[in-house]
């Protein structure tokens, strides 16, 4: 059984978290701390208890894991300084790293986030060289408020198309919905017409413009940070990733260790236990490989879809 300790840390002494102690950790591994970052406003237990189960599993494999609540989220009280979340969240992950260094001697860190937690992990990694690994579940590496409505709609359309042209094509329940009039015909017709139009009158392929996210990712990879992406499919966030990051994938792979896994028929919080189980396998495999390759971070990782 894992040893867990409720902790309070941070500059104001108000960040609440749970430390899961490494069990029989290899001496070299004990310097590597894993920090789990809030998934939106879901507290440090994680959606469907994902963070609790993952922390306990990793502790069995010799990892020290801290999961905590940002100010104003979960059990941590709000800050008094009115800092924007984009800034305070990064400061608080720094505080978590400082605390793990002081209390457990951790000098290098893997940050894991889900949904908006991935943005905090990404921002922190780009500013703090102590971060050597990122595990990004259902990752959106941009502030959603900065993404145009039109682009979001494109991603939604792509998700609906993918859902109807692959997964639901073989699902009797979806066909029943369609023939009994329970499906949203107007939306499906609009999206499918748009996709057909795209294939019939396909515009000349233009080279996609490299975004700030891709540039930062490349810089992190060159710095030796290993990155693991895991998405559920069909999800809008995955389609947005395909629109914005995937066109640059080969270039990113050439720069460092980066991997992508897509779990079919999963939602964005991985609510089915079989999907969470698969995530645990992927993360533990990745961490094992990561540990042995930590000093040679420029090696490109695997890429698969399942």
């Amino acid at each position: 059984m894992s040893t867990e300790r409720a902790v309070v840390f941070g500059r104001a002494g108000s960040l609440v978290g749970v430390l899961t102690e490494a069990k029989d950790g290899h001496p070299d591994e004990s310097t590597l701390g894993v920090i789990l970052i809030n998934a939106g406003v879901v507290h440090h237990v994680g959606p469907h208890r994902l963070y609790v189960d993952l922390a306990r599993l990793l502790s069995e494999r010799g990892r020290t894991v801290l999961r905590f609540d940002h100010s104003g989220v979960g059990d941590s009280p709000a800050r008094d300084d009115h800092l924007p979340f984009a800034e305070s969240s990064v400061i608080e992950v720094h505080d978590a790293m400082d605390w793990l260094k002081r209390e457990r001697g951790c000098t290098r860190f893997v940050l894991l986030g889900l949904c908006s937690g991935t943005l905090t992990a990404f921002r922190t990694a780009s500013r703090d060289p102590r971060v050597v690994g990122l595990v990004l579940l259902t990752s959106l590496l941009e502030d959603p408020s900065t993404v145009s409505e039109e682009v979001i709609q494109q991603a939604v359309d792509r998700r609906i198309t993918r859902s109807y042209t692959s997964e639901k094509a073989f699902d009797a329940k979806s066909w029943k919905k369609l023939v009994t009039g329970q499906a949203n015909y107007r939306q499906i017709a609009r999206v499918l017409a748009k996709r057909i139009q795209f294939f019939v009158a396909r515009p000349r392929k233009r080279a996609p413009r490299s975004s700030e996210v891709v540039v930062t990712l490349g810089t992190l990879l060159e710095r030796g940070v290993s990155v693991l992406f895991i998405f559920g499919e069909p999800t809008t966030v995955l389609e947005y990733f395909r629109m914005t990051v995937e066109p640059f994938w080969n270039d990113l792979v050439s720069r460092g260790r980066i991997a992508l896994h897509v779990l079919q028929r999963s939602d964005h919080t991985f609510s089915a236990s079989q999907h969470r189980q698969r995530i645990f396998e992927l993360i533990t495999e990745w961490l094992t490989a990561f540990q042995s390759e930590l000093e040679q971070a420029s090696v490109a990782g695997p890429r698969s879809s399942e």
């Binding site: 059984m1 867990e4 300790r5 409720a6 902790v7 309070v8 104001a12 108000s14 609440v16 978290g17 749970v18 939106g40 406003v41 879901v42 507290h43 440090h44 237990v45 959606p47 469907h48 208890r49 609790v52 189960d53 979960g74 059990d75 941590s76 009280p77 709000a78 800050r79 008094d80 028929r265 999963s266 964005h268 919080t269 609510s271 089915a272 236990s273 079989q274 999907h275 969470r276």
Partner: protein, 262 residues
Amino acid sequence: MTSEITVEPFFFGPSEGRLYGCYERPKATTRTTGILLCNPMGPEYWSTHRGLRQLASRLAQKGFPVLRFDYLGTGDSSGDSRHAGFMQMARDLFVALSELERRSRYTSVAVVGQRLGGSLILSTDFSREPLAGMVVWDPVVRGAELVEDILARSRSNSVKSGSSVSTDVEYKGFSWTASFREELTYVDVSAPAEASASRMLFVETAHNEALGPLCESHRARGSRVEHFVSESPRADIDEVDRIAVPAKAIHRIVGWMEAELP
């Protein structure tokens, strides 16, 4: 906010089944009532956490020491869904009450229970330590109906499990074991044998026809009962991706406790 109260997270209870608690201690108070909050279960646990956390903070700001805790097999507490159950919730409730007493040295206690936590406090015998007040928030009145609901929703929503041997029913990330479901079929708080507390507040944020008669039953048994109906959003079992904070309900509960409890 942070200067008026102290937040103390900790583990407590027996070594074979540690429970996680979060105690909100007012820095200065003349109140003598400690308050225990009892969570819902399953997917509603995490979709209601934010609301209950805000309720705890608001009550602590009014001078009440408040303890929230996770039942065994849920949240941060030890174990997994195999350890969770209605009987276990009842055992954990008394462990948490003892812990609240140890920490706050209150002279009276009040309990708040939401959804299955509401059913729990309604079906618990508090006669050894009579309650100063009880807040019952959208309780599950008949457990059998919840079981039917879980079974129906899991059939229509869940991804088929690889292990067909398992009798667990998974819905929105929580496994309801066969023993838990069986325990729930015996839960029926619609006809109280005696008054649960001298002062009771029933909060209804999702329409429930059973609540009106339930309030009447408690009145008939001598409790002073208020039935508050609000349009606050309730984090529904189908909406776990949305975290709703039922502000009106929280406001009423805080106001009621401030007026009714020492």
